[in-house]
C-alpha cells in the first residue's frame, strides 16, 4: 500500500510540471499586451520600455518561464499588478471562503446523490427511479447561473428564508454562516450531484445483479443490508473515481457562483483579476486551482487503498 502511495506521489511531479507549462503558455498567449493594460495606449516608448523591464517582459520567454517557475517552487506566485501585494498572500486570504463553499457543495451533493442513485437503482423502472433521473438530468443540464437565479427567486425573494448574497465566517456566527452558505453550495453542487446520482445508479444496478448479492440474500440478510452493506460498498470505487474526475466542475462553477452570490473567494478574485488584466494574479490563481485539483485526485487515488482490498494488499498472494 505504501508503495502504491509513493508511486502516485512520484507521478505527481511530471504532472505538476506540465501543468505549470500549460498555465504559463495560456496566459502568455492571450492577445493583448499587459503593458497596454497598465499604461493605456498613449504611453511613450520610454515609459513602456521601463514597465516592460520592470515586469521582466523584455527577457526571453523561456527565461520568463523559468523565473516564474522558480518562484512557484519557493511559494512566490508573483505580485499583483493592481494591489502590489504578493499573489500568494491574496490567495491565502481568499482561500478559506472558497474551501468552505467547495467543501459544503461536495458534501451535500455526494451525500444526496449517492442516496438518490441507490434508491433509483433499487426501484429501477418505477416513478421513484424516473424522478431521480429527471432531477439528475436537470442538475446537469441547467446552467449554474440559471439555477442560481431561480433559487434566489424562490428562497430569498419569494419565501424569504435564505439570504441571497454575502458571506459570514463560520467562526463568527455559525448559524448565519450556514444560512449564507446554503444557496451557493446547492447551486455549485447541482451539476456534480446529477452526475454522481446517475453514476451511482448505473453502478448499483450492475452490482445488484452480481452473484455475491444473491449469496447475501440467501444468507437471510434484509434487502437494506444487502443494498447498503454489500452492493453500495462495491459501487463506491467507481463512484469515488467519478467524483474525483468531476471535482473540476466544482472548481469551474466556483467562479460563476462566487460572482453571483458575492462570495469573497478565489473565483471572484480570478474574475476581478481578468477584468483588470492583472496577469500575475490570474496566473497564480489558475495554477493554484490546478494544483489543488491534482492534489484532490491524489487523495481519491489513496482512498482506493481503503476501498479496494486488492490494491491495498497488492494482488493475489
Amino acid at each position: 500500500m505504501l508503495g502504491y502511495i509513493i508511486n502516485r506521489i512520484i507521478y505527481l511531479i511530471p504532472t505538476l510540471f506540465i501543468m505549470s507549462l500549460v498555465v504559463f503558455s495560456f496566459i502568455a498567449l492571450i492577445p493583448g499586451d499587459p503593458v497596454d493594460a497598465i499604461l493605456g495606449l498613449n504611453a511613450s516608448e520610454e515609459a513602456r520600455a521601463a514597465v516592460r523591464a520592470e515586469l521582466g517582459l523584455d527577457r526571453n520567454i523561456l527565461v520568463q518561464y523559468l523565473s516564474w517557475a522558480g518562484g512557484i517552487v519557493t511559494g512566490d506566485f508573483g505580485t499583483s499588478l493592481t494591489s502590489g501585494e504578493p499573489v500568494m498572500k491574496l490567495i491565502l486570504e481568499k482561500l478559506p471562503a472558497t474551501l468552505l463553499l467547495a467543501f459544503a457543495s461536495i458534501l451535500i451533493s455526494v451525500f444526496i446523490a449517492v442516496l438518490a442513485g441507490t434508491i433509483a437503482a433499487v426501484n429501477k423502472g418505477n416513478w421513484l427511479d424516473i424522478g431521480v433521473l429527471v432531477a439528475a438530468l436537470a442538475g446537469i443540464s441547467i446552467p449554474v447561473f440559471w439555477i442560481a437565479i431561480l433559487s434566489v427567486l424562490l428562497f430569498s425573494v419569494h419565501l424569504q428564508i435564505l439570504p441571497s448574497i454575502g458571506y459570514v465566517s463560520l467562526l463568527e456566527d455559525p448559524i448565519l454562516a450556514l444560512r449564507h452558505l446554503a444557496l451557493p453550495s446547492i447551486c455549485m453542487g447541482a451539476a456534480l450531484a446529477g452526475g454522481i446520482a446517475r453514476m451511482t445508479r448505473s453502478e448499483m444496478i450492475e452490482q445488484l445483479s452480481k452473484d455475491y448479492v444473491i449469496t447475501a440474500r440467501a444468507k437471510g440478510l434484509s434487502p437494506n443490508e444487502v443494498t447498503y452493506r454489500h452492493a453500495l460498498r462495491n459501487s463506491l470505487i467507481t463512484v469515488v473515481t467519478f467524483t474525483g474526475l468531476e471535482l473540476g466542475t466544482i472548481l469551474s462553477g466556483a467562479i460563476i457562483v462566487e460572482t453571483i452570490f458575492a462570495w469573497p473567494g478565489l473565483g471572484r478574485m480570478a474574475i476581478d483579476a481578468i477584468f483588470t488584466r492583472d496577469y500575475p494574479t490570474v496566473q497564480g490563481v489558475v495554477l493554484f486551482m490546478a494544483f489543488f485539483f491534482v492534489f484532490v485526485n491524489l487523495l481519491v487515488d489513496i482512498s482506493y487503498t481503503f476501498l479496494n482490498p486488492q490494491i491495498r494488499l497488492g494482488g493475489k498472494k
Partner: protein
C-alpha cells in the same frame, strides 16, 4: 414419517416483454430429513428456479411464484412475511451457488462474511462468532483457519472459495441445503474433493440436500433419489440406481445416450452418440401436449391434446409419459 420439505404443484412464472415464461410449471416432490435428492436437467429446465423459489429469492420483477405450496418442517413458506423468510434463509435452509469466484463479496474478508451469517441468526458476540467461523473453516477442511479469516476472497483459489461458501451455508446448522451446480465451475479433481466433502458433512450433520446439476455423473454418485426436469416440469423421479440403469422417460434415455462414458464400447470409431434432435420449447409458448413431443423418438398420437400428468407407478417410481400409463 413426515417429510422435511414438501413442494406441491409449484408454479413460478417470469413476466417479460415477450410473454410469460413458465419457468417452473407444476413441480411436486419431497425431501426427507437427512436425505440427498438431486434434480438434473439442462438449461431452461427450471431446476435453478425451483431451488430459488423455495428460498423465495426470485427477482421480482420479473419473476413471481404464482401457484402451489412449499412446506418446510411444517411451515408453509409461501405464507411467511419477508422478515420471517429472512429468518429461514441461511439459518434453516441455506443455499450454495455455482460460481465460487463471484459468490463472495470482494471487499470484505472471509471472516467478516462468515461472521455476518452467524450473527444474523445467532445471538453471539463478535469474538464468539469469529470462533465459530474458524470452527466452520476447519470443518470444511481448510488449513490454518484462524489466519484464513483475515483473507479476502481474491486471495483464494476456486476450490477454497467454494469451501468457504459451504462453511457459510452450514454455519447455522440448517436442516436443508440447496446446492445449485456447486461443482460445475470447478476442476474435475477439485470437484471430487468438494463432492466428497459435501457427502461427508451431510452424513455427519444430518443435513438434507437438494443437489441441482446438469452433470448426470455427479448426480449418480452423490444423491439417493433423482428428479429429471424438462421445460419446467418434473418428467421422471426414481431412486438413483433405478433411474440410471433403467430410465423410463424418453428424455432421460436420450440424455443418457448423449453422454460418452469412460468405459463405453462406443467411441467415434464405433458409432455416433445418440442425439436428441431439435431444441427445448419456448417457455412462453408451451404446447398443449407433452412438452417433449417434438423431439421424442417414441412419440405417438396419444401424446397430443393434453399435457400428461406425473404419475406414480406401482414400484414407487414417477414418470410423466403416456407410454408408462398403467
Amino acid at each position: 414419517m413426515k417429510p422435511l420439505l414438501e413442494v406441491r404443484n409449484l408454479q413460478t412464472h417470469f413476466f417479460t416483454h415477450s410473454g410469460v415464461a413458465k419457468a417452473v410449471d407444476d413441480v411436486t416432490f419431497e425431501i426427507g430429513e437427512g436425505e440427498m435428492v438431486g434434480i438434473v436437467g439442462e438449461s431452461g429446465s427450471g431446476k435453478s428456479v425451483t431451488a430459488r423459489s423455495i428460498l423465495r429469492i426470485i427477482p421480482n420483477p420479473p419473476g413471481k411464484i404464482v401457484g402451489g405450496s412449499i412446506t418446510f418442517d411444517g411451515t408453509a413458506l409461501l405464507d411467511l412475511s419477508e422478515k420471517e423468510m429472512q429468518e429461514v434463509r441461511g439459518n434453516k435452509i441455506s443455499m450454495i451457488f455455482q460460481e465460487p469466484m463471484t459468490a463472495l463479496n470482494p471487499v470484505y474478508t472471509v471472516g467478516y462474511q462468515l461472521r455476518e451469517a452467524i450473527q444474523k441468526h445467532q445471538d453471539k458476540s463478535k469474538a464468539e462468532a469469529l470462533e465459530l467461523a474458524a470452527e466452520m473453516l476447519r470443518l470444511v477442511g481448510i488449513a490454518s483457519p484462524e489466519q484464513r479469516l483475515n483473507d479476502y476472497p481474491f486471495q483464494m483459489s476456486g476450490g477454497l472459495r467454494q469451501r468457504v461458501v459451504i462453511a457459510m451455508a452450514l454455519a447455522c446448522r440448517p436442516k436443508l441445503i440447496l446446492a445449485d451446480e456447486p461443482t460445475t465451475a470447478l476442476d474435475v479433481t477439485i470437484q471430487a474433493q468438494i463432492l466428497k466433502l459435501i457427502r461427508e458433512l451431510s452424513d455427519e450433520l444430518g443435513t438434507a440436500m437438494l443437489l441441482i446439476t446438469h452433470d448426470l455423473g455427479v448426480s449418480a454418485e452423490t444423491v439417493d433419489r433423482v428428479l429429471v426436469m424438462y421445460a419446467g416440469q418434473v418428467v421422471e423421479e426414481a431412486k438413483t440406481d433405478d433411474l440410471f440403469e433403467n430410465p423410463l422417460h424418453p428424455y432421460t434415455e436420450g440424455l443418457l445416450g448423449s453422454i460418452p462414458a469412460l468405459s463405453d464400447e462406443v467411441t467415434k470409431d464405433t458409432g455416433k452418440l445418440t442425439e436428441i434432435t431439435g431444441v427445448v420449447p419456448d417457455l412462453t409458448a408451451l404446447p398443449n401436449s407433452c412438452y417433449f413431443y417434438e423431439r421424442c423418438p417414441k412419440r405417438h398420437d396419444g401424446c397430443v391434446g393434453a399435457v400428461p400428468a406425473l404419475k406414480t407407478l406401482k414400484n414407487g417410481r414417477k414418470v410423466r409419459c403416456t407410454l408408462h400409463d398403467e
